[in-house]
Homo-oligomer: 250 residues x 4
């Protein structure tokens, strides 16, 4: 269970979120320091300062840090602070970056591109594996379809389909996958029922003032409820949430 | 929980399936007598003979009968035998047919068209409601996207989205929604976790010899397991499977 | 070249449009009398009165009349007035309707459903052909994709692809295919360059007051320019606009 | 008119193609030296050796060289040999790479990602413009949809839509946009009719033995015919092929 803000905005925001998601049961903290943004005029992240904030939050809470790396030339820097290197959906086929995180050696969370087929996702993972790094988690975060009532369409059949074909763990992102706070908890529960190995969820102390993705972020209380719902579903389908174990091996 | 074969093929096939799904916990029997088929040269269904077989299966098992009606001129005939009139995905915007089943008065199961928006689905339901028939169940059965590893893409966020906007029950069809037997149980469980009010599942005594949709049909044993999995998930998310209640009110 | 209003709204509107499109070079008049509308509360067409208006416009101008039929039970009525029976995109897989227009015998304009594959379109045509009616025109009118700057996405590769596989004429509808008046002329020209056999274009005396589809309708002057542009492109690619010939054989 | 092989495979293949496309009327030569490939086990391009071959072909024919750059760290190297830096569809939102080619200063050909909206394309261009480089050409190369009879769906309404919103030239790639040799010429002609400012077309001396994309490459003779067809259409719609002018200003 990975949770945290879309962007690292400040010391206070990050540490407060880390404490809250830890208390609710999360095992890893997400947060963007290098933000790939559709517009060059949007907030681009705090960069190294953001990484330091994340590392301080780990120090205090013991949560593993998951954060995105957007360029080959940043890999070493990000790897100094992060426990898991995230490859965002826009960079799923940035093969040089995949090779660089493959060579680095830390666990990688590889997000599916919004129009990538699952074969393309598996071959993107192969770029990391082929560089000598076996620790790849695949992440379904929604695809582009004609539907506009959700930000993306979240196709959960991805989870059992991938489980039949690869031993790599499959994480689901119901925040980007729906784009609406009120749809996140149910789709998180559905992902667990579909046999997801983990979840990555956006949480913010005050979603309405978030610098990015506020409309799909949960409050602390909403996240705590989501965790309880997911734990009950995980038990019903006969498993513990495997993300815990993954996180424990970091 | 609605289950049964894609097509009614024979007396034996139908009654055997009815007994098996009843024993496993289903409350309604599905089965196509009038089959809309992509090709005019495919098996088109047993028509009235199929309806009689369904009615006989109801007689014996007490299951409600859900079956598709494909033309305005067949509504009266189908309504004589069926408890629920199904409008298939191809006919979601066949407005004359919607008005006719609206006027008839029996409960209607309205399937979403593969490229229909949810607004279009709600407005299609409005054609039935506006004809004076309030008993409409909406059914998510998957949409057309670029994904080809599944027959359709099954977007479960439909379920909580519709629950926020309408009191009409929402049923999910994981058989058409995935198109692969081995993906059906997990997506059925996910649908329940997403708060679906019911499921409609294809079951066949011998899927490999089915005249249609064998690749997405469950055996009796697979269906029995699916029901148990779904019951555990339903309890975990704090509800009974509401389809039972719907069926009981028929 | 088929042109005319989305809906027949009145005598004056229809006859004025018929005169204008005839003068500009059209050979057939389109206009909806039975309108399938997404909402039951939208204008549903003038029905038989609309058919009479269309027939009167043919009387005066000599244009062939192309109009939609939405139900099996209307086929005989519509066929009394129309020269070409249009099957709309929503009804592409309304097989009973296809069989009925197949049995009737008049030329059929079969529109592609917004998520139909071309195989499904060809098999839908097969329902008409198989009923004994060889006069089927296929119509590309755009598909549902993630693109939202146009109403639909108009995939013109449909045209040469179909020409390789069938002798049936292929008509393109740039009005629905784009949903914006200002994109229609260029996409009409592109359709001709892609080897379309005909075009069907929405034209209205005063698009801003149209009861339906005004945002994608051309004024008379815009349509006259479109015809000239298309004629120059048709010559450049070495052909006359075949729709003329089709119309002549009606 | 930009033409050439998908990949630079050898000296002979490249120079032969350059001579042929020059003779047929092309003004620029395309060819990949750094190839982003879906699988890490596919041919990855000749890299700097490929760039040298392209430069030699320019030397002899006078054609401008258009070639892809896939990583920030390669920009300076590729810019030493190329006249136009191509950003491939996979890298449309690789913002560091966009900033790097923006800072470099050479003209940029920016391909639309297969699920990018046009707003996202314009904002990606903004990353280049914002870095101080005004010479950006936008390229429509097809989007991912449910259609599988073509490799991508080529939505030509992109062209007039972009012309209304930006002064940046719009180039169309009918090779990737269709994925089938036999559909390329008609879609090239349609693109010109839709008001495209240029075309980029894959040409190979012997498509059947090409190391990549042979199924969508034209022979020299097919390309020569395509150019003539496009020139006639360009005249019909009242313009010269503007790509010539763009190329002349390089």
């Amino acid at each position: 269970m990975i949770a945290g803000p879309c962007s690292v905005e400040s010391d206070e925001q990050t540490i407060a979120t880390a404490r809250a998601v830890k208390a609710a049961g999360a095992t890893a903290l997400r947060g963007g320091a290098f933000k790939p943004r559709t517009s060059p005029y949007s907030f681009q992240g705090l960069k190294e300062e953001g990484l330091k904030i994340l590392a301080a939050a780990r120090e205090e809470t013991g949560l593993a840090v998951v954060t995105e790396v957007v360029a080959e030339s940043d890999v070493a820097l990000v790897a100094r602070y992060a426990d898991v290197l995230q490859i965002g959906a826009r960079n799923m086929q940035n093969y040089r970056l995949l090779e660089a995180v493959g060579a680095e050696g830390k666990p990688v969370l590889l997000k599916r591109g919004p129009s990538a087929t699952l074969d393309e996702l598996l071959l993107a993972a192969e770029y990391v594996l082929n560089a000598g790094n076996p620790q790849v988690m695949l992440c379904e975060r929604g695809i582009r379809t004609f539907e506009s009532h959700t930000r993306y369409t979240l196709p959960l059949a991805t989870v059992p389909w991938l489980h039949e074909r690869t031993h790599l763990p499959v994480v689901v992102d119901p925040s980007h996958g729906t784009g609406h706070t009120n749809l996140v908890p149910r789709m998180a529960a559905a992902a667990i029922a579909a046999d997801a190995d983990g979840l990555i969820v956006e949480v913010h102390p005050d979603p309405e003032t978030a610098l990015s993705d506020g409309y799909q972020s949960l409050t602390f209380a909403q996240f705590a409820e989501l965790v309880q719902l997911c734990q009950r579903v995980a038990e019903a389908v006969g498993r513990k949430i495997r993300a815990n174990e993954t996180a424990m091996t970091l």
